[in-house]
Symmetry: C2
Subunit: 258 residues, 2 copies
């Protein structure tokens, strides 16, 4: 299989936008974009100075690859509408398996960029890991080359691993962000500025370059400092939901060393 | 009250070490160091090219200030041993109130650097917030000047606020670090590299420069994506403790928008 040069984008959300721009910057020939909402396709097409297709029948059948980047729930539907392409058809979802593609799709794959995308925020794509999956070795090779054009980290993993990675990301990012939220809400109640804790957060993250999180664990729970733990539980008495979280997490952290 | 020039360090742990080095760099006259373990005092004294005092009676009584940086539990004991100083006596603890000082101490204060210190890791002190407390306005002024010599952020807060800040820091840093630990342990079980999630973590932190944590919240819980939430709970069936945490945090996050 030759290397991927001619690429078509299907979808116009944050991921589609960021990837289209990264591919364009890497010198690929983006032949056009299709989105079920034509206006959105036009906005992205204008940004990239390329075509927007008004219906699926306008999409050329002979591109090297089709990047399908729509919401998880829209994926099965849009797959039914698409014609049969010769090129590689790849989705970009972290939580949808390869089995979303019907068996009569010749070259199917997952091309999953592991990152959180905000529409208007520039992103250095070179640090974003690209995670590939396909049952076709030639397709994987072509996607390795494609991935390396935009990122330093390209790996092949299977659907089960991708799902585990997504679950781990929920703890790593979504749940830690919720901890930041609790922290901020407690600070606000006491007329304290969230900025005060940012240097501490920065150092907490930086430590992970040298230590595992278990090694880097600090605080009253890991010190088994009952006096402070009890004082904190008492301080949270007006927030029973935060109290529950404090208790559960402190109990678990205390088990780390024992 | 004149500005603080002559300073004595009491204690030889991570905080004492880092602060002594920062003060020395800022041009203060560190007259010596006392630690209950003389060997530790000698190590730090050698680093700074200053005196180590072998017993409390050797500590000069006429320094401008005494930085008392020992563990929370050792504070009350060591305070009993110390002679009566003319200068400012300040402790560096986040969770101990001003009331640890007996009433006959003339000038007492808290000089609390809000950071996590590791012994062998260099630290840019200029970004570390210094939080002050004293009932004496002249002492506060002198400590403001002292703080500004080593940090860009110097604030006065009361004991209750400092305790609230410490509690918030537990959520912000200790509990988020535990989320990283769960994430890493799940990745390990599936032969996946923790490094894969670090760019995502970096972006999660960077978002906080523009958005509040509540605004920045992403993931299946905030999307009320029941299919993914149920799938994740099922995937955690061999880790009932992680399952509990997943359920509790997801329930709370789902309440954020409603």
């Amino acid at each position: 299989m030759n290397s991927i040069q001619r690429l078509i984008i299907i979808g116009s959300g944050n991921v589609a936008t960021h990837m289209a721009m990264a591919f364009k910057k890497a010198g690929l020939d983006i032949c056009g974009i299709y989105s079920r909402t034509f206006e959105n396709a036009q906005i992205l097409a204008k940004k990239l100075n390329i075509n927007a297709f008004k219906s699926v029948v306008e999409i050329p059948l002979d591109a090297d690859a089709y990047l399908l980047s729509v919401s998880d729930s829209a994926l099965p539907e849009i797959l039914k509408e698409l014609p049969s392409f010769d090129g590689i058809l790849m989705h970009t979802s972290g939580s949808v398996g390869l089995d979303v593609f019907s068996k009569n799709i010749k070259r199917s794959a997952v091309f999953y960029p592991l990152q959180t995308f905000s529409k208007d925020k520039q992103l250095d794509y070179s640090t974003v890991p690209i995670l590939l999956e396909s049952e076709d070795a030639a397709v994987l090779n072509a996607l390795q080359d494609l991935g390396k054009k935009i990122s330093e980290t390209v790996r092949t993993i299977d659907s089960e691993q991708r799902k585990q990675l997504h679950l781990s990301a929920v703890f790593m990012c979504n749940f830690s962000n919720y901890m930041f939220h609790i922290s901020e809400s407690l600070l606000k109640e006491n007329d304290l500025d969230f900025e005060l804790l940012k240097p501490l957060l920065g150092e907490t993250i930086e430590k992970l370059n040298e230590l595992s999180p278990a090694e880097a664990q600090t605080g009253p729970a890991i010190r088994h400092d009952k006096r402070t733990l009890n004082a904190h539980i008492e301080m949270l008495k007006n927030h029973p939901e935060y109290q529950n979280i404090y208790q559960l997490l402190s109990d678990q952290i205390q088990k780390l060393k024992s």
